[in-house]
């Protein structure tokens, strides 16, 4: 059984996502996360809810100042203040309706003010609910007003989580709306409790009566009879005495009988009025409060956390991040064209690949007028794990220069990096040709004299057709 989400949880989740820009830090207890989502079953929504719940728990342990608890505290404070104010308002209304000159309550006025106004408000709210699509701009004032309250109580200026939830619409807005509806209905219950307390107080501590008056008494009497019959329907079958009879109604009209006599006959009215406030004022509010509580729970239970920010977070929690191969092939060499033979890379690449089994990753010129290319060559050595190829023409061996180049390359590349000498001549049509036998002998002797076990000399020769 999963712990149900509460509004404070959702607020904390949204606040964390807003604060940590979607992804958030990784999980501390990946194993716990896995078991949490596995125990949630196979429904993807349930799995996501369980996973996000686990993540929220982890984050809450690390971050203390999340707004969910403060929001809940502020809501309770608002409920208490509102209930107190409306309870007092209820009692005040009753005392306000007491006609002190006559020492009693005008029943139709009492019913109209205490219950009629409430029902008008409820009907207006129902109409607004039905027309909410058409009243979008006007209704936007409500969340704005609540936003101002949040600013006041939660202490954040325009919190991102609030905007995110409102912008989402649908269930997220419902999650915020139903607690608000519960607050208003709790206030409504307090107001009706105030009415009851006020009326009971008047009955206990004052000598009050009930009456009605009208310029059209017959019509009014009939209406009053109809209204009381309708209103007493919920209880008159069980307690008929709590429903004023036609005679009692007629007897409490001011006019034919003296006022004192009217007020003395008013016993039938107060049970009716107490029951009316209970059945038509308090209980509907209680029913609405329960409905709002249930709808709020359903809205919370129905959150699927499928908004983009939730998806991003979920992906960051559940998806193993693949790593791309970053290693380069280990056969890269720097080819240093000593003296600038001008042999094209394409002409020598197949020979390098198939005979030397190395791959030219850089092709640079050294021992030329351009000093910049020598600097480039030194830099390129770093990206050539398979070593350095000195490309030289057979006739052009200058031992001091080659020794110097070899020494520089060796010191830059380290003691074990292969240093290869590739010797070729250039034909008139700028293609490589093998060096002469004499040149090969000279180069072989030169490389042997370097006494470097990681140095080797190769002489260009055309590849056999099968190798090409």
């Amino acid at each position: 059984m999963q712990t149900p989400w509460k509004l404070a949880d959702v607020i904390d989740l949204e606040a964390l996502i807003a604060r940590e820009a979607g992804a958030g830090p990784g999980l501390k207890d990946a194993g716990g996360f896995q078991s949490a989502i596995q125990s949630a079953g196979s429904d993807p929504s349930a799995v996501r809810r369980a996973g996000l719940r686990f993540w929220l728990g982890e984050r809450r342990n690390e971050i203390a100042d999340l707004p969910g608890a403060r929001w809940e505290g502020a809501r309770l404070l608002v409920v208490m203040l509102l209930c107190t104010v409306l309870f007092l308002a209820g009692t005040s209304v009753v005392f306000g309706l007491l006609d002190r000159a006559r020492g009693g309550f005008n029943v139709p006025v009492f019913l109209a003010i205490t219950l009629g106004v409430q029902w008008l408000i409820l009907l207006a709210a129902a109409a607004t609910w039905l027309l909410r699509g058409r009243l979008g701009a006007g209704l936007a004032l409500i969340p704005k007003a609540i936003g101002a309250l949040i600013d006041r109580f939660v202490g954040e200026r325009r919190p991102d989580w609030w905007r995110a939830m409102l912008a989402e619409g649908g269930r997220y807005r419902a999650v915020l709306f139903w607690p608000l509806a519960r607050v208003t209905q709790a206030g409504g219950m307090a107001f009706n409790a105030g009415l009851l307390a006020g009326l009971i107080g008047c009955l206990w501590f004052l000598n009050v009566g009930f009456f009605w008056e009208s310029t059209t008494p017959a019509w009014m009497q009939q209406r009053l009879s109809n209204v009381t019959t309708f209103m007493a329907a919920p209880w008159s079958w069980a307690e008929p005495s709590w429903h004023p009879t036609a005679e009692q109604i007629a007897a409490t009209r001011i006019g034919p009988a003296p006022l004192d006599e009217v007020l003395r006959r008013a016993d039938a009215w107060y049970p009716f009025l107490l029951a009316s406030i209970t059945f038509w004022g308090f209980l509907p509010r209680l029913a609405l409060w329960l409905a709002a509580a249930r709808a709020g729970r359903c809205a919370l239970a129905g959150l699927d956390f499928q908004a983009r920010r939730h998806r991003e977070l979920w992906r960051s929690l559940t998806n193993a991040q693949p790593a791309q191969t970053a290693s380069h092939p280990a056969d890269g060499v720097v080819v240093l064209d000593v003296g600038g033979s001008g042999l094209p890379i394409d002409a020598l690449r197949p020979f390098l690949l198939r005979r030397l089994r190395v791959h030219p990753v850089a092709w640079l010129t050294v021992a030329v007028m351009d000093a910049g290319s020598e600097a480039q060559a030194a830099e390129a050595l770093a990206s050539a794990p398979a070593g350095v190829v000195f490309l030289a023409e057979g006739w052009a061996l200058s031992p001091p220069r080659m020794q110097s180049l070899h020494a520089r390359a060796r010191s830059a590349a380290g003691p074990d990096t292969p240093l290869l000498f590739l010797v070729a001549n250039v034909s008139p049509d700028a293609t490589p040709v093998p060096p002469t036998a004499e040149e090969q002998a000279i180069w072989t002797r030169f490389v042997d004299e370097l006494a470097d076990p990681a140095a080797e000399v190769f002489f260009f020769s055309p590849l056999e057709p099968s190798q090409d």
Partner: protein, 481 residues
């Protein structure tokens, strides 16, 4: 070599496409990382390609140099072993006794003797020569699990196709076809599953790897759907604006010129949005050689001014009418509810009929940008008017746009990473009918509802999760071969 990580050496004769198989499997289209070219012998050393998730290595492929002298190597091994069938021990001796004369063979055999499984890549279009038989024999002697991969280069069957299959079937645990230049995600996954069939020792970790690969793909599809949502929101809400002095606004020729210039700007900005969308998609699917455009300034996007685009892509007239009637009717229902039923369903009827009729008469028309002139604009030189242009009036516009993106999404997924040619995602050609016509009607209705909010410039965020789900489903359909 760690025995905990299943390792497979990709071996075969030079130029059989070993590196291309690895590149496609691992989605690497960078020639600096995996070298592929028509000339043989590009791979000279073994290169390890680990499959890593969350920093943990789950699987390892080793790209090896090809067999260069298999017959000679086979004879040398037999000579070392003497009578009977050589085994790993004889192969080890071969590695120790021989030098660079069998350099490539030594390099490719070393990982196999360390415990790697064999992925033997051959092109069944080539004639079956003795060289190949020698390779198969040497690989059999390693005693490792063996999978033969038929990487066909030429679509026409070769002379020895049947013999290839018979010989491979006799020597290898499993034979699978895998075109490294065309393989899509599902084929890559099939090859990974084949590894599972031949390598029992590492079944749990291989199963885990396959799950991770599948999840990774699902994640990419979801990111792609989000990219599509961003693009559609931006594109459908795109409007361009310009101001015109009052006296110029009175002259029709100047007004028309301004409108023409603005229309051009609208299409350029729309093309730029498309380009950005495809750049992001290419990034998600790790393509570097496939480009959204040849040069940024030349990208023109979907050709909305071509009649062919509007007839082949998007919804049919009947579908458009139905979708419009449904969404219009839904809006009418709200009106009827808001009147408490006093309108007797008139809102629903008028909404459905009006929207349906508009779609029927306007849906198939060529793009005609919405134009809005607004007066009372204060300019430095006096009174002026502002002109706002876009999006096209046709109710088919969002569907045409979506089809254009889906078709190119399909092109992105059809491109294997083993290819090394550069390619431009062409938006000009209209190769085939789009996908939106085959969408289920509830998806069409949902998207139409969301499109309407985007066209109005106020995308409904409460619809976004459902739209996301619908687009993920659509992308999964597009991915099917």
């Amino acid at each position: 070599m760690s025995n905990e990580v299943p390792t497979f050496a990709v071996v075969g004769r030079v130029n059989m496409g070993k590196s291309a198989v690895i590149a496609t499997l691992r989605e690497i289209d960078d020639n600096e990382l995996v070298r592929i070219s028509p000339s043989p012998g590009e791979t000279t050393r073994c290169q390890v390609h680990p499959v890593i998730f969350d920093g943990r290595e789950y699987l390892r492929f080793i790209d090896t140099p090809g067999f260069s002298r298999p017959i000679e190597a086979m004879r040398a091994i037999q000579q070392i072993h003497g009578d009977g069938t050589p085994g790993p021990e004889s192969l080890r001796k071969f590695l120790n006794q021989h030098g660079e004369d069998f350099g490539d063979e030594k390099r490719l055999l070393a990982p196999l003797l360390d415990g790697a499984g064999v992925l033997y890549v051959v092109d069944p279009g080539r004639p079956l020569r003795d060289d190949f038989l020698a390779e198969m024999e040497i690989l059999r002697w390693t005693g490792q699990p063996r999978l033969a991969v038929l990487n066909r280069r030429d679509p026409t069957p070769g002379p020895d196709e049947d013999t290839w299959r018979t010989r491979l079937g006799a020597t290898f645990n499993l034979v699978r076809s895998f075109d490294a230049h065309r393989a899509r995600y599902d084929e890559r996954l099939r090859l990974l599953r084949a590894l599972l069939e031949i390598e029992e020792r590492h079944r749990p970790i291989l199963e885990q790897t396959i799950q991770l690969v599948e999840r990774d793909w699902q994640q990419r599809r979801e990111i792609a759907a989000e990219i599509l949502i961003d693009f559609l929101q931006d594109a459908l809400g795109l409007r361009v604006q310009a101001t015109l002095e009052e006296r110029d606004a009175l002259l029709e020729s100047r007004r028309n010129r301004k409108a023409e210039h603005l229309a051009q700007r609208y299409y350029q900005e729309l093309a730029e949005l498309e380009r950005r969308c495809f750049d992001r998609l290419l990034g998600v699917y790790l393509h570097h050689l496939l480009k959204a455009e040849a040069r940024g300034e030349n990208f023109v996007g979907i050709d909305l001014q071509s009649e062919e685009t509007w007839t082949k892509w998007g919804l049919s007239r009947a579908q458009l009418t139905l979708v419009a009637a449904l969404t219009g009717g839904a809006a009418g229902v709200l009106f009827d509810l808001s009147t408490g039923g006093l309108s007797h369903g008139l809102g629903t009827i008028v909404g459905a009929l009006g929207s349906g009729a508009a779609a029927w008469f306007k849906g198939g028309s060529l793009p005609d940008l919405r134009m809005n002139w607004r007066g009372g604009v204060t300019l430095g030189t006096g009174e002026g008017r502002s002109l706002t242009l876009g999006p096209p009036r046709s109710s088919n516009f969002p569907w045409v746009l979506l089809d254009g993106v889906l078709l190119r999404y399909q092109a992105i997924l059809s491109r294997a990473h083993g290819r090394r040619d550069e390619e431009v995602l062409s938006a000009q050609a209209v190769p085939e009918a789009g996908f939106t016509r085959n969408f289920p009607s509830d998806r069409r209705t949902l998207l139409a509802k969301w499109f309407n909010t985007c066209l109005a410039g106020r995308p409904d965020p409460s619809l976004e999760p459902d739209v996301f789900g619908a687009l993920v489903a659509a992308l999964a359909e597009v991915e099917k071969p």
